[in-house]
Amino acid sequence: MSTVQRTATGAATRQAALVKVMGLSKHFPIGAGLFGGQTVRAVDGVSFEIEAGETLGLVGESGCGKSTLGRLLVQLLPVTTGHVQFKGIDLVALRGERLRRMRQEMQMIFQDPYASLNPRMSVGETIAEPLRNFGVTRELDRRRRVAEVMRLCGLNPGFSNRYPHEFSAGQRQRVGIARALALNPAFIVADEPISALDTSIQAQIVNLLDELQDRFRLTYLFIAHDLSVVRHVSDRVAVMYLGKIVEVADSDALYQRPRHPYTKALLSSIPVPDPDLEARRRPILLKGEIPSPVNPPAGCRFHTRCPIARFPTCAEREPPLVVDGRGHLTACHFPGTL
């Protein structure tokens, strides 16, 4: 692990940060008329770093902003405020050709490989498309690279003329991965890459992503709602709630010693396939459901559902993300007390 330095604000900066996110926000204006003038604060003032070669897991429930955050990182969505640095260069300030060049190194894998593959393109064409876009002009070179990445992803290169519907869901996800890999990227955002797959197929894809990471020293942002999978793949994990990051820590620390009450509740909610453990498990049942990101609660956004919220502190003051001596970041006025 790289040296960790602490800044005056308490945020940890790692020397080998490949991706550095600072005060990032994304607000979506919603409709005119009844809701005119309102905005959804999908991501709201988020800062964190991703080290080269690591997998950062990003978890949270639906609507917490994790997918939006993933898209902001690879600039598939324009940011509202804040900065995303990639290899020290601020992507937000880049335009046109310079941004396009940077994009080669950042790729994305999507949840539903059927929706993200063009049904009218053969998988070979789909995988070759980014190569064509980024100047691999010779057909033979493209074909060679397509065959190579198909093999790397466990696909038979002889099937490059086939169409997405001729593949199973697991194979289609392999095509999505092969396409992401074609330009030899440094950073991949994987947005729920296995949640649309059958249980027996999920492990194949997880193992493939693992192998590719080892082989090409890839850096991943792995977005998922399944905390068991995230624990398995991630070196560090960030937990999001209603547009904010509430906790970031090394995987083992986060799962064994969660400090934010939301993380703790989330972990206690997950059933395990063992009836004996299930009989003993006492989930911390949260009140109600996630509030609307149009009108998030004041103070700590979690205070309306928090079992340890103290008033008026938690309803009035927003807790900053504070680091402890072990590099464990928590945004809570009373961390570790649940």
Partner: protein, 313 residues
């Protein structure tokens, strides 16, 4: 094409049974068959669905349309993954629950009227008296599933069939719904058949589990036994392919190669053999029967795990 092939199982009064399987395993078709809800052109070709102490006609497969309608939402209720598909968006929820009772005439109009608010309280919906006047869109996903459970239980059924009731919900909400189903099962004695792809949810709620693969039951038994000492290689492999919160971190997952078969092109012999790491010559040609492998536990395999790997399997 046979989505479900020769499936037999028994649900005791008040029991909680899980039917697990992946897409195409036939678990949902099995569930829908219990209430003859298999969508056209699907049909039940053979077999019986027997309800104990349910009047003169006990076989659902032989009932008239009218008798089946009486059964649905009456003695057997069903809830689905997406509650919005079952709720009418333009009617107040209190009215819909009252209608569910009126349709079965078990309760007088006044009784039904008086049962609506207590039913909402029973599924832990706060401010029930005000909420009955609301429309479905004013409820969140988890709350809508509670409404469906309230509606399903309003006629005091002896069986609730729940088809992936928590799959569309977030984990914290899933935990609430499982807890609710568990409480209602012990409070009211309603038997529950839970259809799911999630073995952990079964471990949490069901005392018995049925594992389906490619239209067949491949393993069945007490949940504890099946999950702790699975005897069919499919169940065994599935449990090993899951990353688990209760297991060590970082080890490679044992994946199952290939994909579930297309029901139009089933493999010969055992339907799992192309993906089975323990297959023998016999598995390619002859389909094994579902046989007792341990006390109360059945598996459809020529070489159950214990025979292959010994006790520690």
């Amino acid at each position: 094409m046979k989505a479900v092939d020769d499936v037999s199982f028994l649900v005791d009064r008040g029991e909680t049974v899980g039917i697990v399987g992946e897409s195409g395993s036939g678990k949902s078709t099995t569930a829908l068959s219990i209430l003859r809800l298999v969508p056209h052109p699907g049909r039940i070709v053979s077999g019986r669905i027997l309800l104990a102490q349910h009047g003169p006609r006990q076989d659902v497969a032989q009932m008239s349309e009218e008798e089946v309608r009486e059964l649905r939402g009456g003695d057997v209720a069903m809830i689905f993954q997406d509650p919005m598909k079952s709720l009418n968006p333009v009617l107040r929820v209190g009215y819909q629950i009252r209608e569910a009772m009126a349709a079965h005439r078990r309760f007088s109009g006044r009784q039904a009227e008086n049962r609506v608010v207590p039913m909402l309280r029973k599924v832990r919906i706060a401010a029930a008296r005000q909420r009955v006047e609301h429309f479905p869109h004013q409820f969140s996903g988890g709350m809508r599933q509670r409404l469906m459970i309230a509606m399903g239980l309003s006629n005091e059924p002896s069986l609730l069939v729940a088809d992936e009731p928590t799959t569309a919900l977030d984990v914290t909400v899933q935990a609430q719904i499982i807890e609710l189903l568990r409480e209602l099962n012990s409070e009211l004695g309603t038997a529950i058949v839970l259809i799911t792809h999630n073995l952990a949810v079964v471990a949490s709620l069901c005392t018995r589990v049925i594992v389906m693969y490619a239209g067949r039951v491949v393993e069945e038994g007490p949940t504890r036994q099946v999950l702790k000492a699975p005897q069919h290689p499919y169940t065994w492999s599935l449990l090993r392919s899951l990353p688990r919160l209760d297991g060590p971190r970082g080890a490679q997952l044992t994946s199952i190669g290939g994909a579930p078969p297309d029901l139009g092109h089933l493999p010969s012999g055992c339907r799992f053999h192309p993906r089975c790491r323990f297959r023998t010559e016999r598995c390619l040609v002859e389909e094994p029967p579902l046989e007792t492998v341990a006390d109360g536990q059945l598996a459809r395999c020529w070489q159950p795990i214990r025979a292959t790997l010994g006790e520690q399997g």
